[in-house]
Amino acid sequence: MKTEQIGKPSNRVDGRAKVTGEAKYAAEFNAPNLAYGFVLNSAIARGTIKSIDTSKALALDGVLEVFTHENRPGYVWGDKNYQDEDSPPGSPFRPLYKSEIQFSMQPIALVVAETFELARYAATLVEVVYEPDEFESDFNANMEKAYKPKKYKSTPPQDPRGKPEEALAEAAVKIEQTYAHPSEHHNPMEMHASTVVWEGDGRITVYDKIQGVQNSQKYLTNAFGLDEAHVRVISPFVGGAFGSGLRPQYQLFLAVLAALQLKRSVRVVLTRQQMFSFGHRPKTVQRFAIGASEDGKLQAIQQDVFAETSKFEDYSEDVVIWPGVLYKCDNVKLSHKLVGLDVYTPLDMRAPGGTTGIYAMECAMDEMAYKLGMDPLEFRLKNYAEKDQNKDKLFSSKELKECYRQGAEKFGWSKRNPEPRSMKEGHNLVGWGMAHGAWEAKQQEAEAKATLTPDGKLTVGSATADIGTGTYTAMTQIAADTVGLPLENVTFQLGDSSLPKSPLEGGSWTVSSVGSAVKAVCDKVREKLLDLAQQLENSPVANVGLDEVTFADGKISLNTDPSKTVSILDALKQNGGQAIEEKVTSKPVEGQEKFSPYAHSATFVEVKVDEDLGTVKVTRVVSAIAGGRIINPKTARSQILGGMVWGIGAALEEETVMDNNLGRFINHDLDKYHVPVNADVHDMEVIFVEEKDEHVNPIGAKGLGEIGIVSVAPAIANAVFHATGKRIRELPITLDKLL
């Protein structure tokens, strides 16, 4: 494939829509006679609703209905009907199903009124009497009840490899430490919202905030027993999600319920506080025991994970795969247990399992390097993994050494004095830390269609999403590049359940999966175009195969003599005024399974810690990324920068605090749940090292949504140790822990 569009730092094709306010998000689609729903949430964490009195709310002029478990209609209430593409094993939550309260802030009523103001006010008039039960919300207090789930959502912990116990006992140098990662909430800027348009004949069009419109569609058809043809879900723009839109959230169910019952259009938007009432990154405690020889070779790794889940679903994420991926070690023992609490089920949040698992492991390895008296980078090179030992397969490509080299050089790592507290600037202790990371580059099955009209305009579509990741732009580039058209002649459509099937937009697999489908469907368009071009009288491209021509600048030209060309427009004229239409299903290519595909990163961080105040400032971050082929260096850099900002949040700021008196996440707004702001972010540099990967997928790209975050928080924690000599093993590293 030539690289006319791929690899170019193009501006986002949806940029203009986003800077003018024209881009419409789920709560922004209008419908005639639109009613507004406001959700009322449970005040207790566990128990039952004894009574719920809606009469005062209903007495208000303009209040249309209050839906509760008492008057909700008799739909399909079997719990299997509430499962979705991202459900963990268990019994999914069913809104308004019964009087039982399973978690704090559970939705218990939907007040529907003519205006938003009225619905919100009326919700305050609903009187609820609860019968509270004992609840369990304290993670640490319930760790002893941790259990091995019958079925893991994630990769189950492997059986021990080698002889971990013996190797650990015999190792010359050992560390044993416990690391904790708190619960966190995604907090995309756009709150979850659904606008349901009642089409008048039993059909509904739903504008939903979701990372997969077909997931919402399937959920709705199952839960409400609706015909697939009657439910269309649309989501052209998503105001961030980071995993929160992988599962349909309760506002969708409630809005559709109200629309079907009232036979009118309904909008439900959650409040920021309610954004803390569903899935979150689970709290995780990890015990590491690591042994090494005196010369710094890893002998054994033992990782025991305890992770939060709800009482009704067994959520788990890939926390225990990293010892097999990040370091060479022959003796490994793993366990992964769940702590069931009376909370909503945790939910994949940017780099689920990697953010927590790599953080703990990379901090532990830094401790080991210090104990050995080795430079942390040298230690990593000494224990470099050439193979994914979980699968016993070679990596499809791995330019991590180049990440180390370029990152260290840019950062100036060689000038580092390894001694903690050795660098000072006035009040500030200066620390340099590093860590590396990885993220799997999966390819899923995906479909795409393409239409090339006689005027040379190409439209390609697949039901994927763009949550800010740049899907619109990357897919437009891949399509334009393949067919040889200028970017402005190509439109990519997504976020519509009527488009060809796409996997959920997550897992960093969209470019790999949907990108491969886009390329495949455009390859079919090329085939057809060449065929048409060869039908021309005295065709300059007669009797040649696809690999003997190039598609570029709107022309098909002969590789051996580029002056011999046929314009795409002329070729299209041979099609009798018809458009070329193609559709494909793209599956992971054969032979791919022989390799283990991962993206890699190395991050170098400088922090300044005020010795008197304990405040930590991340003054410099350099991340070097090996992510295969980069489709668009501009949007790719932005994705990595975003991941780095998330790393700062995880390391220093983010924590959803459980109040065990109430069983409720208590800092449930953006005032008390701290996410990084502009003043928290200083110099950041992204390096993409060159990496050719012929195995990962037909495009050679690995996906970048998650690799940007994983190595940042441990690098910061390690830098804080270097600055202060204090090892904080519980995130976030707030000033109280440093003083």
Binding site: N11, R12, D14, G15, R16, A17, K18, V19, T20, G21, A23, K24, Y25, A27, E28, N30, Y36, T115, F116, E117, L118, N187, P188, M189, E190, M191, F237, V238, G239, G240, A241, F242, V269, T271, R272, G468, T469, G470, K634, T635, R637, S638, Q639, L641, G642, G643, M644, V645, W646, D669, L670, D671, V675, P676, V677, N678, A679, V681, H682, M684
Partner: protein, 152 residues
């Protein structure tokens, strides 16, 4: 009666309707975003007589007689405001949800004339949260906007 983007609009609203909800739900000017409704995120930033404010923290009725400018009022005759164009060129957004507020905030910050250093910019833009983490690029937009305003 509100003056919005140079036009007069007449509205009948519950007195407790915020300017933000009036714009989004009653006038369908949905370019102004709701991210928290509590003045904690800045997504709803608009310009009132050239000053940046959180439109969720003011009632629509309190803005009678003032000139409200929203993201929809920045481009003139199809030509983007230079700050809008700079957001595209520097890729200073990803999901785009905080972007209208960020853009209004940058214009407001330039009008204030207080930002002199890089740290000033970072501090004075900290009322606008960007969860995608586009801050490095947003700062570049502000630097450029300040240079443009000095050149004038």
């Amino acid at each position: 009666m509100l003056h919005i983007n140079g036009a007069e609009v007449k509205l009948q609203l519950a007195p407790w309707t915020s300017l933000l909800d009036a714009l989004r739900e009653h006038l369908h000017l949905t370019g102004t975003k709701k991210g928290c409704d509590h003045g904690q995120c800045g997504a709803c930033t608009v310009l009132v007589d050239g000053k940046r404010i959180n439109s969720c923290l003011t009632l629509a009725v309190m803005q009678e007689g003032k000139e409200v400018t929203t993201i929809e009022g920045l481009a003139k005759d199809g030509e983007l405001h230079p700050v809008q164009q700079a957001f595209i060129d520097h890729d200073a957004f990803q999901c785009g949800y905080c972007t209208p507020g960020q853009i209004c905030s940058v214009i407001g910050l330039v009008n204030e004339g207080k930002a002199k250093t890089l740290d000033d910019i970072r501090d004075l833009m900290s009322g606008n949260v960007c969860r995608c983490g586009a801050y490095v690029n947003i700062v570049k937009v502000v630097q450029e906007a300040l240079e443009r305003s000095e050149a004038r």
